[in-house]
Symmetry: C2
Subunit: 260 residues, 2 copies
Amino acid sequence: MITFVVMIQIVLIGGGNLAGHLASVFSKTAGLQLVQVYNRKLDKIKSFEKFTEITDDIHALVKADLYFICVSDIAIIEVSRNLPHLNGLVVHTSGATPLSVLNTHTQRGVWYPLQSFTTHRVPDFKEIPICIESHNPQDLQLLKQVAELISNAVYEIDSNQRMQLHLAAVLVNNFVNHLYYLGFDFLEQHQLPAQILFPLIKETAMRIHEVDPYDAQTGPAKRGDIPTMTRHLNLIEDDTQKALYKLISHSITQTYGKKL
Amino acid sequence: MITFVVMIQIVLIGGGNLAGHLASVFSKTAGLQLVQVYNRKLDKIKSFEKFTEITDDIHALVKADLYFICVSDIAIIEVSRNLPHLNGLVVHTSGATPLSVLNTHTQRGVWYPLQSFTTHRVPDFKEIPICIESHNPQDLQLLKQVAELISNAVYEIDSNQRMQLHLAAVLVNNFVNHLYYLGFDFLEQHQLPAQILFPLIKETAMRIHEVDPYDAQTGPAKRGDIPTMTRHLNLIEDDTQKALYKLISHSITQTYGKKL
């Protein structure tokens, strides 16, 4: 008896953090087959050899169902235009880039995993929201199929929504991380250990599952406690940080002043 | 045989969230005895009757080892001054208030639990950093003893350090929560569910255990990606939020421009 197993064949283009994590998860997912990884510089993707064939020759790309462009946002257009004609679906993985930059490809889409990837932390893809987009229903179906094989949270989102989502992600990830940095920096300057803030950071982040941040807001700005805010401002030496403290406090005051 | 059990007797002054959580944890901790709760308005502390005796008569305070002032920051001085002479250690529980506001009391200290308390979430006190201060070694010892009975993270911290810590806590709790609110608000305006951001928020918060926020920073401001920042700014309608996006991005740029 001959059994036909449908395997979705995938080529990865790029050699960064995201490409690495995708190569790893695609390789171990039944139903997916990572058939090649391409990068302009071969030495950057040596570590991918444990998963599949690697190449630095753009004209040697093998036939596949899906080509994942995993390069930095500014490089997507150029990489996309340099691709030869491909008989498959070409997608990028960027939150901040519209689908239209792939216009030279007949089959095109977006497959955006909404998470912050770093080299050393292995992500649990089951939890990561995958945001997919394509104008062609069949292509969208393929993107959905791949997304659902590795994640429990798949969203169909258009380019406008994805840009909003990316902006929101910058606020809750990049900007929040910068506030962590500033907080830890204040502590270090005064011989206090960073870990004293860990439980507070955890509680603040986990509380969103139960309480809307609008209702969870506390602090001197929320209650209009000017003496405390003045004391805080006197502790801040850097002008940018002083301005930041004032502006976020103002934004909080405005939020509750408006809606109360 | 007679066994003497040393019990530290405690009176709580105040009827808010923190008073409620402290009453609960003190009541179930061996070695501690909550002997009374005082509040100016008796109806506000009716729910404390399940723990101990309650009173609204400041002159009826019973004898205790420790008097915990758990009122809002602005009310501490007034409450402290209105207290009769007490034969015990008087402490406040505020991060933003110096020890010196208790100067009318011979025995005085600070017992500051660094966490954000809300009514409906029961805190795990074992994890909450307790920051203690007193000029008197014996009083400090008593504060330490009480803190160590309920928490694994006890820190001796002076009033200057505590103010710095409180500032840092405002950044990573109040300000971060406001960024969560703004992010969720953008999503809501574009028919996207808030929970799509939950895994990213969790990852950002938990990563601090492994990676210093300075090294973990990513995003358009960090990499000087002006096209993406411009697109984001065009999505933001509110002037304060636009200014906030610019200023935090500037602070990130400044942080890495300086140190690179």
